[in-house]
Amino acid sequence: MKSLVCVSKTPDTTSKISFTNDQSALDTGNIQFIMNPYDEWYALVRALELQEAQGGSVTLINVGPAANDAIIRKGLAIGAEKAIRIEADPQSALFVAKQIAGHAKAENYDIIFLGKETIDYNGSEVGGMIAELLDLPFISYASHLEMNGNTATIHRDIEGGTEVVEVETPFVVSAAKGLAEQRIPNMRGIMMAKSKPLQVIQQAEAGDLAVAVHFEAPPPKKAVTLVDPENMEELVRLLHEEAKVI
């Protein structure tokens, strides 16, 4: 399989989130960025497993500034053989998808992998956009993927269960938990990653049609109301009369 794995950077879940003074952008000063876990743990690892079983290649792609190279190198350390970074400061999902589709169009990848969503904006839009721009099938939220020749059998997570589908390559698939097991890069992988090719290409012209213009903190949460463990009638009363949820 010739696979392309789209990787995104995202703030670590434990990061404290704050914004610039005019509240128009994320204050990135104190944020630890990581590779989006769905891209790293599931999409990338499943692509590598297919390569190990059947040959082919795994290429990483990221749309972003040079600061993202650390994240891309981690993907190379985990096992991808080469990477492409499209130089940009992306503001919208459609911009990112147009950049990736623009690269992928001429490359004839069998499978384009990405995580089911990023853990910061949770949009899950880019996969469908790439598929649409390249006129490919898109299977979202895949928790299992097996190849038999050019036919993939994929389990996709739906409300309350899974759906089993079949699709021929080429296609786009977004990865959920279960698709693979996380791999920790070893020292040899980290050393080898330094000399693997990371090609930087210029962005294509594409506007941003939807952009986040303002951020605010959610309304402060009231302190917890503690209820006597002996008195669950009181908890039921509070849930009914005060919270009005039962």
Partner: protein
Amino acid sequence: MVLVFAESQKGQFKKSAFEAVTYGAKTAHAIGTECHVLVLGKADDPSSLGTYGAKKIHQVEGAGLEEFDSQVFGTVIAAAAIKLSAEVVILNHSAKGKALIGRLAARLDAGSVAGVNAVPTVENGVFKVKKNVFSGKAIATYQIKSDVKVLSLMGNAIRPEASGSAAPVEKLDVAVPSGRVKVKSVNTVEGTVPLPEAELVVSAGRGMKGPENWGIIEELAGVLGATTACSRPVADSGWRPHHEHVGQTGIAIRPNLYIAIGISGAIQHLAGVNSSKKIVVINKDPEAPFFKAADYGVVGDLFEVVPRLTEALKAFKANH
């Protein structure tokens, strides 16, 4: 015009469809236009969607709409949006909606916001809409600049409002392309409300000590009419099925009530549940971080507290 894609399952509309139509009607009001609904495939009584504020129902029928292929559905919805000159297309932020929103945005070259939770505003022609970001740690306001906009609505973000009357149903003539994805089987849990749609959720963690102790959780959920969930270690240990796992790597939910039992409240777990409207935490450790995110807390032994809560709920249900 605002066009809402109303999802149906085996011909039945779900609560999420009523939420989407209600949201569509409010959005139409905000921008000074009408709300129409698009129904794909056979469905029972589409005209009833008018009660949630739709002025007209457009129905497309054709082979290929019985099973879900995002390419087929995306092509049909986009064609309908163009044919009907829709300004805003609204989906649910569901398994189908998440597969469709990117396709529609790309096909219509439209600005899109996925997972919105408030009605858009339009001031001086500037269209803005909000969603939660950074695991509920912030609310972002998006501006959409394109003429056509695509939104997906978070589940449980808006209460369905049935105040109008039935709407006329018209057949819409749109070609249904053949798909390339074959659905082989669908395996869903019957009889319970799926987690992403559940209003009441009872969730338990490692404090349960083992899968054999889940009877008290199921009994509580049964009395309450709630869906059961679990934390990641519980799912990873095989104590409970994978589809019950809520949290960052599992399912993100926002029920009206989330009862967390024997779950310490790691940040990755909170990321998936802290948009819940009310949170009850039952834990014997008063230092459990989950209490900081809770509305109501009970510090005590869950094996005593949970049966007591079940009994109290039974008494409550008998009188209400």
